[in-house]
Symmetry: C2
Subunit: 432 residues, 2 copies
């Protein structure tokens, strides 16, 4: 008999079906027991009237792998409106013991460190795994929009010699006796590829050796990167990003079961995302919070949070662009605002009051790179191979990078980004 997924029982009422999955829960009542069988997609209710069978199933550890053959019957009370009756149950693989965290409760009853220590098992919890369906949907939406605009997917190396985001926070790798390190971003590679395809994107890991331990940062993360040529300025990139986010929100909306389970809705992306210049944003925050920020060159998390509330209140938008950050705080490849060169043609995008995306226009002239590296006291030698791309003809271009987990965390309202990463890496956590 062909295997039926628990989510596909609806059209099969009245027929014998074969389910495969995990013993998620057994509820024993006086005259009947309910076996909840979880497979890779959902959970089905199996009704056990036979007391001997119920006793036998009760002797199995939760998470044992079972095959259940039974009759699909419409039952409005059951999950999905169908239950399975008159079951025959076979053990495929018995669990050795009860799992380290009970997976049968609607909310896992364990602290985050315990959930993460036992991730290989606790990710099976329906609420935990729903986050990763949303992550997969986000990546799908990201790619689909970019592909529809003629962007080409690339993969660039993660063992590198140069550190475009600054040399302080890189992980060192012993590369056959030479010092190499792990890529902080695909920045210079994606820019070089603008000379090849004009429009490129990459989904890949990025590594930052920052020793801080916050709910917003990890030392390895999945970065969604895009870069395009022939931009007017950073505004062209912001227009693209708006459409990309709309596609990601739409893809999230298609994951109805996961959204419902988590009790969240896909975000709405306005046709025009509100935007503030850094100086405006800073001064609004300074007034509202009675702080003296005149010499501040960045926004603190509390400031971003206030701005997020402001955008929602004033514009009904969960998204807000802040543009023109001071050149002094942006990486060397950042393009200045030609009208006021202490500010930049760059932006951050806040999602529900937290930084989600950083992007902007990049320098495109070789001599500007030479000058920018010199002005920051950076040795041009490690950048030699990339700077060739600018020496031999490069149009005005720009792009953005987005942490996948930040999007998912915003979407599901996770207080800690570790909740939405399968196997997170931080200063204290290298396993599992």
């Amino acid at each position: 008999m062909e295997r039926t997924w628990t989510t596909e029982l609806g059209p099969l009422c009245g027929r014998r079906v074969l389910l495969k999955g995990w013993l998620h829960r057994l509820r024993r009542l006086s005259s009947v027991s309910f076996l909840l069988l979880r497979d890779g997609r959902g959970v089905a209710q199996v009704v056990v009237h036979d007391p001997a069978l119920a006793r036998w199933v009760a002797g199995l550890a939760h998470e044992s792998v079972l095959e259940v053959e039974g009759t699909a019957v419409a039952e409005p009370q059951a999950p999905g409106g169908v239950e399975v009756r008159d079951p025959r149950v076979r053990v495929v693989a018995a669990a050795a013991a009860a799992p380290p965290v009970e997976l049968l409760r609607p909310l896992p009853r364990a602290q985050l460190p315990t959930l993460l220590d036992h991730a290989a098992v606790t990710l099976r919890h329906p609420r935990r795994r729903a986050c990763f369906r949303l992550a997969a949907a986000a990546v799908r939406g990201f790619r689909d929009v970019l592909r529809s605009r003629g962007f080409i997917e690339i993969q660039t190396p993660k063992i590198v010699a140069a550190a475009p985001e600054g040399g302080a926070n890189v992980f060192a790798v012993d590369y056959f006796g030479r010092r190499a390190h792990l890529a902080q971003s695909p920045q210079l590679y994606k820019q070089a590829m603008v000379g090849v395809f004009e429009r490129v994107f990459e989904v890949g890991p990025a590594f930052r050796a920052e020793p801080h331990d916050t709910p917003r940062h990890l030392n390895e993360y999945v970065s969604l990167d895009a870069e395009m040529g022939f931009v007017r300025d950073h505004g062209t990139v912001m227009d693209l990003l708006r459409d990309v986010l709309a596609g990601m929100a739409e893809a999230a909306g298609e994951e109805r079961d996961s959204l419902e389970l988590l009790g969240v809705a896909a975000p709405e992306v306005p046709g025009r995302v509100p935007s503030l210049h850094f100086t405006e944003a800073r001064s609004m925050v300074a007034t509202a919070l009675s702080e003296d920020l005149d010499r501040e060159l960045d926004l603190a998390p509390a400031h971003e949070s206030w701005l997020g509330d402001w955008a929602l209140r004033e514009h009904g938008s969960e998204l807000l662009f802040v543009t023109g950050y001071p050149m002094a705080r942006r990486p060397f490849y950042t393009h200045p605002d030609p009208r006021a060169t202490e500010w930049s043609n760059s932006f951050d995008l806040l999602f529900r009051g937290r930084e989600l995306v950083t992007g902007g226009q990049r320098l495109h002239r070789y001599e500007d790179y030479v000058a920018a590296l010199a002005a920051r006291g950076l040795d041009p030698e490690p950048f030699h191979g990339y700077l060739e791309a600018f020496r031999y003809g490069m149009p005005p271009h720009g792009g953005f990078g987005m942490g996948l987990a930040r999007w998912v965390a915003g979407l599901v309202g996770a207080a800690n980004i570790r909740e939405v990463v399968l196997f997170p890496r931080d200063v204290a956590r290298l396993t599992p």
Copy 2:
């Protein structure tokens, strides 16, 4: 005026168009000059009758970025059947000098090391970049088939503590003073995720610190990985792989311009890929090549090459499965053949006589892992977190891993895998 791509001139004949791109070539004849403008998608021919304009363009270095406004006119001799006449030309960004390798020739006239040293520029060559359109198509085909079968895309960490493929060839990373290393594959993670989603796939980098320098190996490569639960044995995985490859070949077929430029065809994937057991394959090779292979536990490249020829000759197939490799040469997670436990439920897939994919059924019982690690003298401690997945109920499962570049190399007939990787990493090459 809206920008028109060089590949989209066809429907615009008779109209003024605005092209943007790179000065690919200028051919000056006595009465007319032809400016070839390359953009991210193709090349257009621009006819220059004005001698002053031709002289001016001749003074620009190749690869300068230009905007060309002109009239699209049907011309059967021109690339794409359309040329652009009566042009006005504007320089967007001048190249500082002629590029280090001429990009205007149909075949780049440089040795591979030179092409790779200057990859940030030489990837612009139409033949070079065509390989990477085919790579993007391959990844698209891989994902599309798996998604249509309910596989979920995941991203697993690349900084890890355990070495499932053996500890000898790992890159060490200093992780905040602890010894970590770079993942050789997502093997144990994707297996653990079978317990969560049953079906998962990943596209990501993999790292092997092997110091050998061959045309087939790199130290960092893009791995296409899939894993699924509830398999019968490795045959279920082989059936899936056949369909995945058919989807990848179909996606390649959609890149008509790239295939044509490279003079290659998308491979044909037979409905049923021929298959030999390792012992059969070994004995056929031994007879054909008059070698004594009775004690050989693996196939050498020359043997795989002979088998590839055999499959083409006898079955008209460019693909060949070799199954049942000796357990002694497979990693500890390999499932033995239950009928003859010195052999394994594993396979390699040869594409045009070279190994493309490795896969098989995995162990799924916790106690089998404990025994397998002990039998190989491996310390179980680093594997603790992953083995939990097997302790708490795991069905029979299997999967495969494929090097993206090997597929593309086979497709375009590249003698050296470095030809089809944007910025390859080998024992001698860490930049660009």
